[in-house]
Symmetry: C2
Subunit: 527 residues, 2 copies
């Protein structure tokens, strides 16, 4: 029997984003018990670091996990950041898709306004409990409980009371079920270790549920300069973006609107563009721009030359800091670091790739008792990415390198590959922000950085092998030389020591590296 359209559409209704993610929590990173625990820690720790850096404070973060039952844990994260004003705390932690971070071209770890509210949702649907917050912005500290009215995606804030807290900061505590602590490659410990690696200015204390305590000490004492909001570059926006900006502009003329809104838009450029599209467009009020006018503006943008977007708003980690952090945490035998120049995504979004390769020490991953293999440490805006490697631009770039060509037997060597992509906008492949979308421009730029690191390591391994071959021959010949000198000395009555020295000089002529080798190695390591 056929059913009518009316029957079918009966009960048709709109749903809240909180309802959607309640039903699809795996999309936020709540899939699997170990993974879910890392997601909670990740969301809180990223928020704390963003807040501290925003406020110009060297971050000190402590993470405390207590086991309350089989698969039930309390997780709390405490920071020394600026705190959250009482009137904003509900929105910040109890509404999905809220934040300041949404429309601003500015580099931050969080960029979606989902993370911390997602934790509240996850606590609520697994244990029915609100999260508990204590915060101080410098004056009076307060505490409160926060949950989400899921059907409406609105915060429910209860038990707002004065609290004991002497210093500024935010402490968030939640109770979660269906999660698990594990000491694996994809664990909270590893997440924090990598966070420390990419953020050497952060000090992290970790109180694990098994009673162990870890400190990841700060290895540099300067805060990365706080990220600035930048004006968008004319090449990085679409027709639709242009109209969005125009709609909220209060300028009387489009020409003024252009120079006020976009980076690199000098008055000479405005004139040049007016020359292309005509005054009928640039004299219009921006509010009156229609799609066709905006489209001709965008076309004009693409036809003129621009200075590349300003990359000063992007804060990469920096070569020295990467080196300090890798030495601190991996203590490798050799490390090679590459920081590439800023590049541009979609024509207007600046990004910077940093890559490093570390060899020996604690680099790589143990594959059996005595054997090591490689691992990748992926980062986006210094946040470690532990999951969904298969969907990530970084993995794609690593796979694109023919490591054997560089004489690097990556499968059987203690090699760690470190890649950090920094940008005001990272195109994540999913809402859970666990992988960077495989955009061609990104993959290619990462590949170039990795080729550089591969050449660095090739030189080191090559040098080591050459030196070791020379050493072996030198030693063999020197063994013969000892015996030969005795025999010659016996036959010729010449001094044995004298003959030995002559022979050694002769041998060293052929294998000059064999004796200087240690010094040389040191030199190459430092290069």
């Amino acid at each position: 029997m056929e059913k009518s359209a009316e029957d079918i559409f009966e009960g048709f209704k709109e749903h809240s984003i909180a309802e959607f993610f309640k039903r699809n929590k795996q999309m936020l990173g709540y899939s699997g018990k170990v993974h879910s625990m890392v997601t909670v820690v990740h969301e809180y720790v990223s928020n704390s670091m963003d807040a501290c850096e925003d406020a110009g404070i060297l971050p000190f973060i402590s993470v405390r996990i207590k086991q309350l039952g089989d698969e039930r844990y309390s997780i709390s994260v405490d920071d020394n950041g600026p705190g959250v004003p009482k009137k904003f705390v509900g929105k910040a932690l109890g509404t999905i898709l809220t934040g300041t971070k949404f429309h601003v071209y500015r580099q931050q770890r969080g960029q979606q306004g989902i993370g911390a509210a997602g934790c509240t949702l996850f606590a609520q649907i697994t244990t029915g409990k609100p999260i508990h917050v204590v915060s101080s912005t410098g004056e009076n500290a307060y505490g409160c409980d926060i949950s989400i009215d899921i059907g409406k995606n609105k915060p429910v804030v209860n038990n707002i009371l004065p609290a004991e807290r002497k210093s500024k900061g935010l402490s968030v505590q939640g109770e979660f079920e269906g999660i698990k602590y594990e000491n694996s490659e994809k664990s909270v410990f590893e997440y924090l270790r990598r966070t420390a690696l990419a953020n050497p200015h952060v000090e992290i204390m970790f109180y694990a549920p098994d009673g162990k305590e870890y400190t990841f000490t700060r290895s540099v004492e300067t805060i990365p300069s706080p990220s600035k909001a930048i004006k968008p570059h004319p090449l990085g926006i679409s027709v639709n973006d242009l109209l969005d900006f125009a709609r909220v502009s209060s300028s009387r003329k489009t020409s003024v609107f252009l120079s006020e809104t976009f980076a690199r838009m000098s008055s000479a450029k405005v004139q040049e563009i007016t020359g292309i599209v005509g005054e009928s467009i640039t004299d219009k009020a921006p509010k009156d721009l229609d799609w066709a006018s905006a489209e001709s503006l965008i076309k004009a943008f693409k036809s003129v030359k621009w200075i590349a977007p300003d990359a000063t708003a992007i804060s990469s980690i920096g070569e020295e800091r990467v080196k300090a952090a890798i030495d601190n945490i991996l203590t490798p035998e050799y490390v090679y670091i590459v920081e590439r120049k800023p590049q541009v995504l979609h024509g207007g979004i600046p990004f910077i790739v940093e890559a490093a390769i570390a060899y020996g020490g604690n680099s790589g991953r143990k594959s059996s008792e005595d054997e090591y293999t490689w691992n990748i440490m992926r980062f986006a805006n210094r946040v470690p990415l532990l999951f969904d490697a298969g969907s990530c631009a970084i993995t794609e770039a690593v796979k694109g390198i023919q490591w054997k060509r560089y004489g690097i037997d990556i499968d059987n060597r203690p090699v760690s590959i470190f890649v950090n992509v920094s940008s005001v906008y990272i195109p994540y492949s999913g809402v859970g922000k666990e992988a960077i979308s495989k955009e061609e421009e990104l993959v290619e730029e990462i590949r170039l950085a990795l080729m550089d690191t591969a050449r660095g390591l090739q030189k080191y391994i090559g040098g080591k092998q050459k030196v070791s071959a020379a050493k072996t021959r030198y030693r063999t010949l020197m063994n013969y030389a000892g015996q030969l000198s005795s025999d010659l000395s016996y036959l010729t009555k010449a001094d044995k020591k004298e003959i030995e020295r002559s022979l050694e000089r002769l041998i060293l002529k052929h294998y000059p590296k064999a004796k200087e080798s240690d010094a040389e190695l040191e030199e190459e390591k430092g290069a």
Copy 2:
């Protein structure tokens, strides 16, 4: 200089889900030009099939793509479904997260209420144009233009006018930029080919932008019985779910609420549960249940025995239909099909895995002029999944099989592996629904199905090899037999034919398969 919390939270605001996906369209599958085009076709075609099956109509769908400029195309999809009533059309195509499909335990292709509205958003932000709809629900046909008020996530419906359309159905047409038609493994053509494969009751016409026309003909004439909404199984719900159901219940007592809301909840079961949790809970009004009471109910659910959830609401494709479709489209030399019994995800969500392996014919993928390799065709509720294979439970299961153990050199054989997972709830790994989350229960069940198919193919290939070895020896011996008979006949004067027949009998005793082989092969093929 330190910044205060007030400074930081200035401008803090809530954002609409439409704004979020506008900024992160790659999360909906709009990443890459070819991929983006497939996403549009996929969303419209899935909606059409759902609508037709809901209404009990054999689907006839036509897809028309026209190139309008470099990377600019018009895509239209027309169906013979029930149509969309005028008053719902704005919500259906102009609001993200709207649908009937959200809270109902029922198998459908769409389950999120994002897809078609996502296409509207994508058209709008790439070309500024609304989508154009023509629909008839049987009475008067109408046409209109739909776009989204992105800041509010509300539909904007314009130009509502009577339209010429004789039969029921829906036609949607949109103009998109930044997309590309390509004839590759991940193309619209392949998407439709696989759709036809998993939906042999659907007839699809495809008008490609290069002027070519394709028809994927219907190979079975019966509509899969329309999916029923089922009551949730007590083992498939969380404490939070139970409270959600309780909140909207009008029952006076929890005991009544339980038997009305859940599957397999007989009055004997309600009594059993009351025995465990006490009447103080089951006599309560469901609205008054708190977390603790709900938790004890859920614990009680877990401690009693249940009949498995009803899987009749799940419509798998069915062995015969899979065979008909594979024969129709791949014309393989051999095919082996497995339909597993219904299994249960998270304790209460029924799902069914179907797998097939096809060998020869158009199976597999050409890797060079004369060489073939394998491919996987992944489906969820009969919808082909072309992207993000690395994140998918099906890929994970395929990788978990040691094909060599089954004597299948999968890398160098024309093998197609077909897997379809059917359920009232598919845990997709992302909003774009391109991969099934790697949940252990799913991966394991798919692996078991694949092992079955591997054994099937092993037997076939093994048989073929044995037969072919026997045939070779038989032929070699028979060549000798000819010469030997002549020689013996010459020496003994016995009849050459007679000797030859005796020798053949002798040889056949040892290689009996060599002559029956073709018949046998046929038999094995049919098994």
